[in-house]
């Protein structure tokens, strides 16, 4: 079996559970060392069980998480606070989501969209914006406005589904 980060033969095989999803990680000697795994002292069975049994102390996960595209390890990202590439947002999603929420008090983009992005992205973004307005309308008990917004959201979603089907045919 090949290493996840290069073409060399993998010597370390780890199983990690992220959000209930089991993932396997295979690393060559060099990348295992780079991830902070000491291949001469095997991970104890307790550690592995701890890692598999609960999210509190997922040691295998802690050690092996690195971005599959750019190779940035979690350790490195934590040290610098900078990500390695756009895909790191997927790799480190779990901890980034919290950090981003804390920084921006939001987790949903409502601004400009590049014109290259497809119609679907536009609709998703419009729905997100309308939903925010809907929440605000409900909070100030403006139910007339809320009903209008709800209908608008529904319409957007229906049109989106139609577009999707159109795309497949």
């Amino acid at each position: 079996m090949k290493c996840d980060l290069c073409d060399k033969e993998a010597v370390v095989h780890l199983t990690q559970v992220v959000n209930g999803e089991m993932k396997e990680v295979h690393l060559c000697e060099e990348h295992a060392v780079a991830q902070g795994i000491d291949i001469n002292s095997p991970i104890s069975i307790t550690d592995i069980l701890m890692g598999l049994s609960g999210p509190q102390k997922n040691i295998a996960h802690e050690l092996s998480l690195a971005c599959p595209r750019c190779g940035m390890a979690r350790e490195e990202f934590r040290k610098t606070g900078r990500l390695g590439c756009p895909d790191c947002y997927k790799t480190f999603m779990a901890e980034l989501t919290m950090a981003i929420k804390a920084m921006h008090h939001s987790g949903q983009h409502l601004g400009k969209i590049p014109s290259r992005e497809g119609a679907q992205t536009r609709v998703k973004s419009k729905v997100a914006r309308l939903q925010k307005e809907l929440e605000a309308a409900i909070a100030r008990e403006d139910f007339e406005k809320a009903a209008k917004l709800r209908d608008q959201i529904k319409k957007c979603r229906e049109e989106n589904v139609k577009d999707d089907e159109g795309g497949k045919s």
Binding site: C70, G84, P86, M103, S106
Partner: protein, 349 residues
């Protein structure tokens, strides 16, 4: 035009603008990255060079691309990089980078695109006075033009993806550069800074840190980049800046009402030192020029124009002095040149 050409002129953002007394300029900065491409701080030299080439090609899609000058950091001397930094055209971070890093600057210096800074692209638009909307329109247009040939890293949930999560979403940093001597002299600046910081905006000294800012120059900018449309972020910043301007104007009125003699003394002493000193450090010059600028705003120096003082604020910096002298200067030689430059300026008044 070469870099030396900059010395003979001032940036277009130093022209007169709205609220030009307390406001120097407005700036919009957009962070953009290329899809499926490692960020500059983690990328190989090959990737960074490729990004530079891609941006270079993308400039063909910019209508007035011929009005842009471009430099790569690895072909500039340390002094030239410093000159660009002092003119607010590049960041300190870009000046320290090498392979693949560079900048595109249009001739009036109101637009600049940094390549391979913390992000692949950092686009900035500067306007004189309080004019965030115009700065945004110009930045937005340039962004659209570049996007014709560049594929940006974007997610429908997190927006434009950036090397630092603090910029994710709009990638927008809007900022206004303010001159607030009234609030500093009345010692009201600290509560104003604290109040502004509490509502999600950052206040920094333009040269120096926090409330000890040299030259009484401050920069107020948004911190939050995700979860709000650009127009809302800009409107919020503008609203708060207008309130700060109101405070500054009130502070000046109070100074002129109750302590007019002190203000005259403050401005007059600054003039006296600037007109006669033979040695002048950058920090001292910034503080004294700030007093002159206040004097112009209050009508105490009828022969002087605010814009000329704003130009001096830039020209007294080390790289500008050395470029103008055409030689490397020791700190003491710079202090002599700086004092000469200011004396010459005041002689003509």
């Amino acid at each position: 035009m070469t870099l030396d050409g900059f010395l003979k002129r001032h940036g277009g953002w130093l022209e007169a603008g709205p609220e030009e007394g307390p406001v120097i300029s407005s700036r919009i900065r957009l962070a953009r990255n290329l899809r499926e491409t490692t960020f500059p701080g983690w990328a190989s030299k090959e990737v960074r060079n490729r990004v530079w080439s891609e941006v270079l090609l993308a400039f063909d899609g910019v209508e007035d691309s011929k009005s842009f000058l471009r430099w790569r950091m690895d072909e500039l001397s340390a002094l030239d990089r410093e000159l660009l930094f002092e003119r607010h055209l590049i960041s300190r971070e870009l000046a320290e980078r090498q392979t693949g890093s560079g900048v595109f600057v249009n001739e009036d210096e109101c637009r600049a695109v940094m390549v391979n800074e913390e992000d692949h692209i950092r686009l900035q638009s500067l306007q004189p006075g309080l004019n965030l909307q115009k700065a945004w329109d110009i930045a937005d247009e340039l962004d659209n033009a570049l996007e014709k040939s560049l594929s940006y890293a974007f997610s429908s949930k997190l927006g434009y993806l950036t090397a630092c999560p603090s910029n994710v979403g709009t990638g927008l940093r809007a900022s206004v550069m303010l001159h607030l001597p009234g609030l500093v002299l009345t010692e009201e600046i600290k509560p104003v800074i604290n109040a502004v910081s509490k509502i999600g905006l950052a206040v920094r000294g333009l040269w120096g840190e926090g409330s000890e800012a040299s030259g009484h120059m401050f920069q107020i900018s948004n911190q939050i980049t995700l979860g709000k449309p650009e127009a809302e972020i800009i409107a919020h910043l503008e609203q708060i800046v207008l309130e700060v301007i109101e405070h500054e104007k009130n502070a000046r009125l109070r100074l002129m009402g109750k302590q007019e003699i002190r203000v005259h003394d403050h401005v007059g002493r600054a003039y006296g030192i600037l007109a006669n000193a033979a040695l002048m450090t950058t920090g001292e010059a910034l503080d004294l020029l700030s007093a002159l600028r206040l004097g112009v705003d209050l009508g105490l120096l009828p022969n002087m124009v605010r814009r000329e003082i704003d130009q001096l604020f830039i020209r007294i910096h080390p790289a500008h002095l050395q470029k103008e002298a055409g030689a490397a200067l020791s700190p003491e030689e710079r202090d002599i040149k700086r004092a000469q430059l200011i004396r010459k300026f005041l002689d003509g008044k």
